[in-house]
C-alpha cells in the first residue's frame, strides 16, 4: 500500500494499474462546468502536483455532508489542460477514455474511488474553501483536505488501464457467449 500526499511529484510515475493507494492532503473538486470555466478563465489553484477530484458534493453550513466520486468519462475531453498545467492525479469513478490515457502517459495517474461511497469519502475529508461558487453546489470547485482516501490506480502513467483491460475481457466473453464473429458492438 502506497500512501500519497499532495502536492504529488514523480512518485506517481511508479504506480501501476491495480495498485491500492491512499491519498492525503489538499485536493480540488471539479465537474463538467468547472472544467469549462477553468479553460476559459484559468485554474484558480496551483495546479503543480495537484489532485483533481471528479465530485459534486452535498455541502451544508460550510460542511461536507457527502462527497463521493462522479463519472469521470464526462471529463474525457476536458482534462488535457489540467495535466499540461502539472496536475498529477485525476480522481473519480468509472475510468477515462483512451485520449486521457495518452495525456497521462509519463506525467500523471487516474485513481478510482469506489462509486457511491459518499459517506465514506466525506468521513475522510474536511472542507477548506471554494472557487466558482456561482456554478452551484454540484459544479463549484471545492477545496478539500483529504485524510487517507482509499483508492485503486485505474490508469497508470505507462498506458496501463485496468478499466480497459476489464472492458476488453468483457467484450471477449460477450462475443463468445453470443457467438458473434464480427465486432458489431461499438
Amino acid at each position: 500500500m502506497v500512501n500519497l500526499q499532495t502536492p504529488l511529484g514523480t512518485e506517481v510515475l511508479d504506480l501501476r494499474a491495480g495498485d491500492t493507494v491512499t491519498l492525503s492532503g489538499t485536493i480540488y473538486t471539479a465537474r463538467d462546468e468547472a472544467h469549462v470555466r477553468m479553460m476559459e478563465e484559468g485554474i484558480p489553484f496551483d495546479p503543480e502536483g495537484a489532485a483533481v477530484y471528479h465530485c459534486g458534493p452535498v455541502v451544508q453550513d460550510g460542511r461536507l455532508v457527502v462527497a463521493g466520486p462522479t463519472t469521470s468519462a464526462r471529463m474525457n475531453r476536458l482534462s488535457e489542460f489540467l495535466i499540461d498545467a502539472g496536475v498529477r492525479a485525476l480522481v473519480g469513478k468509472g475510468g477515462m477514455g483512451p485520449e486521457v490515457v495518452e495525456h497521462l502517459r509519463g506525467r500523471a495517474v487516474y485513481l478510482a474511488l469506489t462509486g457511491g461511497c459518499a459517506a465514506l469519502a466525506a468521513s475522510r475529508m474536511t472542507l477548506k474553501g471554494v472557487y466558482f461558487e456561482d456554478l452551484g453546489m454540484a459544479e463549484a470547485v471545492w477545496v478539500i483536505e483529504a485524510d487517507n482516501l482509499p483508492l485503486t490506480v485505474g490508469i497508470d502513467a505507462h498506458g496501463g488501464d485496468l478499466f480497459r483491460a476489464v472492458r476488453e475481457k468483457a467484450k471477449t466473453q460477450f462475443h463468445q457467449r453470443f457467438n458473434i464473429k464480427q465486432d458489431t458492438v461499438s
Binding site: 491495480g18 491500492t20 465530485c55 459534486g56 458534493p57 452535498v58 451544508q60 455532508v65 457527502v66 462527497a67 463521493g68 462522479t70 463519472t71 468519462a73 469513478k93 468509472g94 475510468g95 478510482a112 469506489t114 462509486g115 457511491g116 461511497c117 459518499a118 459517506a119 465514506l120 466525506a122 468521513s123 452551484g136 453546489m137 454540484a138 482509499p150 485503486t152 485505474g154 485496468l162 478499466f163 483491460a165 476489464v166 472492458r167 475481457k169 468483457a170 467484450k171 466473453q173 460477450f174 457467449r177 453470443f178 458492438v185 461499438s186
Partner: protein
C-alpha cells in the same frame, strides 16, 4: 370541467409521507439490497472487487451512523402512489409530493439535481416541469413509494425495439447494455427489464421492476443475471465476479409486430422506501 380545490389536509399528509420516505431511502438501503451486497462480498473471488465491496459496505454503515445520504448523487425524485377508492385523484396529490421533495431537499439534505433540460438552470429544490415524476395506481391504502434515481446508471439505460422474432435475443440485448456501460453505472448493478407494452411502457416497466425485491429471481431473471455476470465487469468496472446483484423483469402485452425491451440500470445503491400516508 370540475376543478378540485387542493385539499390542504391530504396535501400536507402527502408532503410529510414523501419527506419521510425520501429520508428513509436516501440514508438506509432496503434490507434485501443490503443482504445481496453482503452475499456478494462473501462470494467474490477477485481481490480488488472484494475491496470495492468492502468500501461499499463500510459506506452503508457510515451513512446510517452519521444519518447522511448513502451517495452524493441523491438522484431525481421518482414517486409511485397507490390510491384507495376513497381518495380523489386531484392536484392535491401532486402538490403534496412536490412539497415533500422540496422539504426533503433542505432537511436531509439532498443535492439540488433538477435543471432545465436546455438552459441547464438549476431550480434549487429538486422540482421542475414534470418533476418529481409521479405515477399513480389504484391500491387498498394511500402509500408513497420513492425511488431516487441517480444519473450515472440512468444514463446508460436503453430501450430497444426488437423484432417479434427476436425474443431469444433479449439476453444479448441485456448483456450488451452492461457491456456498453462498463463501470460507469457503479456496478454491482440491479437491472430492471421491461418487456413488451409500447416504446414508453417498456421503459416504465423497467423502472417499476427496480421496486421488486432482489432476494428472489425466477429462472428467466437468473439466466439474464448469469449472462451479465459472465462479463466479469465487476464492482466499479475494475473486474470481478459481481457485476449484477439481480435482474428483475416486468412484462406487458404488446403489438404482434413489436417487441419493445427496456433495460433500466440501477447502481448498487438501489434506494427505495414506502410510507403509508396518515390523514
Amino acid at each position: 370541467m370540475m376543478v378540485h380545490p387542493a385539499d390542504p389536509t391530504l396535501s400536507s399528509a402527502l408532503a410529510d409521507a414523501t419527506e419521510r420516505a425520501l429520508q428513509e431511502a436516501e440514508i438506509r438501503l432496503p434490507p434485501d439490497v443490503l443482504a445481496a451486497l453482503r452475499r456478494a462480498a462473501v462470494a467474490e473471488r477477485d481481490e480488488i472487487a472484494r475491496q470495492e465491496l468492502g468500501n461499499i459496505l463500510e459506506n452503508i454503515a457510515l451513512a446510517e451512523e452519521r444519518q447522511v445520504p448513502i451517495c452524493q448523487d441523491t438522484g431525481v425524485p421518482v414517486v409511485y402512489l397507490t390510491l384507495p377508492p376513497d381518495v380523489p385523484f386531484s392536484p392535491a396529490l401532486f402538490e403534496g409530493v412536490r412539497e415533500g421533495v422540496q422539504r426533503a431537499t433542505v432537511t436531509i439534505p439532498l443535492r439540488p439535481n433538477v435543471v432545465d433540460p436546455l438552459t441547464r438552470e438549476n431550480t434549487g429544490d429538486n422540482t421542475g416541469v414534470g418533476m418529481p415524476a409521479v405515477h399513480v395506481t389504484p391500491g387498498e391504502r394511500l402509500t408513497v413509494t420513492v425511488l431516487p434515481k441517480g444519473a450515472g446508471s440512468e444514463n446508460v439505460s436503453r430501450v430497444g425495439m426488437l423484432l417479434p422474432s427476436q425474443a431469444g435475443e433479449i439476453p444479448r440485448f441485456v448483456a450488451e447494455t452492461m457491456l456498453l456501460a462498463g463501470g460507469k453505472p457503479c456496478p454491482p448493478v440491479i437491472l430492471g427489464v421491461g418487456i413488451g407494452g409500447t416504446f414508453d411502457m417498456a421503459a416504465a416497466l423497467a423502472k417499476e421492476a427496480l421496486l421488486l425485491p432482489v432476494d428472489t429471481m425466477d429462472n428467466y431473471e437468473q439466466e439474464l443475471c448469469d449472462v451479465v455476470n459472465a462479463l466479469e465487469i465487476g464492482p466499479m468496472g475494475l473486474g470481478g465476479d459481481t457485476t449484477a446483484l439481480a435482474v428483475k423483469v416486468k412484462r406487458a402485452g404488446c403489438h404482434t409486430a413489436s417487441l419493445p425491451v427496456a433495460v433500466n440500470v440501477q447502481c448498487w445503491a438501489c434506494r427505495r422506501a414506502t410510507v403509508e400516508v396518515e390523514w
